[in-house]
Symmetry: C2
């Protein structure tokens, strides 16, 4: 953390992750309101609580690093709010697909970035990226709904594509605005990051994983 540019990049990264967890909490809690049964409602509420606990861990680390957590999150609120406004689910299934596909690609991205972090920061990032049980839950419920009503698959496939499109467009916006964070990724900070060819391969991996997730839901990517 002696390197100022690296410290700035880490604070950016933890701030973005923290606000992401806080909005994930809110979004899962909203989805709970759509749940068709009390048991599903309670299951989503439990996942929302797990996201909040991740948020609290990230906030604590930001404070240990001497950052004001709210200030660290602030630069990322606009992009995250814009993403959620443009992808407001109109019901239970859209909410499940959004969380599975959107969190999936975000998680993959942060995991890739974690390769360029010091051990202590990487351990924290990997811990808060741990699946809260939502993936298996979403796959189960979405597959069952499509089996019961196959014509839903087309609409949900389009919806999944929209989620990824919006996620990439907001990620681009953040990368353009936050130099330290972008530099961490592309090797500008003490040569820790990837070169551009590696960034290209990373995007290929993100896309492959996305296709796999859509297939797990029974949807074409």
């Amino acid at each position: 953390m002696a390197d100022d540019a690296y410290r700035s990049a880490v604070i950016d990264l933890l701030g973005a992750l923290a606000y992401g967890e806080l909005t994930a909490f809110e979004r899962l809690a909203e989805d709970a309101a759509f749940a068709p049964t009390i048991a599903d409602k309670a299951a989503l509420a439990a996942m929302a609580v797990a996201e909040y606990n991740h948020f609290a861990l990230l906030r604590a680390r930001l404070e240990i690093l001497g950052a004001v957590a709210e200030d660290a999150m602030e630069p990322f609120t606009a992009a995250l709010e814009a993403f959620h406004e443009r992808t407001a689910p109109s019901g239970w299934l859209e909410g499940l697909v959004k969380a599975y596909v959107g969190d999936g690609i975000a998680t993959d991205f942060y995991r890739e970035v974690s390769a360029y972090l010091d051990d202590s920061t990487r351990d924290l990032v990997l811990a808060v990226l741990e699946d809260t049980g939502h993936s298996a839950f979403a796959v189960d419920r979405v597959r069952a709904a499509i089996a019961a009503e196959p014509r839903q698959a087309g609409r949900l496939a389009l919806w999944g594509r929209r989620i990824v499109g919006e996620a990439l467009s907001q990620a681009q916006r953040v990368a353009a605005e936050r130099d330290a964070l972008a530099a961490l990724l592309v090797g500008g900070v003490a040569h820790r990051g990837a070169d551009l060819a590696e960034v290209g391969r990373m995007f290929a991996r993100l896309t492959d994983n996305h296709t796999r997730r859509m297939a797990a839901l029974g949807l074409s990517a």
Copy 2:
């Protein structure tokens, strides 16, 4: 718990409380979306998590009593959903007033009922009724908002009255439908409950406390 009527009444009571905590979780999480700052958003999310933890305690006790938690909650979902639909806040301040005034009167009511419970159930009920910090938070934010813009006081006072009116009307509906629960309150179960004169005094206490809460917010009841 050897007395079947008493056991039914306790399962009803814990079921109603559990679903109340689960909807309190959802509602506080929704209010977090209205929060004017990230710090306020995080504070409301923490309170929502505390409500979820209360819900989990009640669900565990229902299971210890041999009840299916979802079945125990089911009879109370309609009244609670109707209450929340009819009192959907249109913004941050209405959400704070609703939670403070609505949870306040519900908490007072459950505290009164707890006098007629066995020690173990009473300890659990009092534990889950513990204030999650929301009251001080709501009083602080609402008083500050009224100080900044005094003409808001009239609208919020009307809103507080509407909350109590809807809460009483849904409570009446539940009492009419759930004999065991009503009997617990008015002395029908093994003479544990209150007589009608005591019920009258209880309502007077609930009303007094409500007036005190409205005054704490800087509003007329």
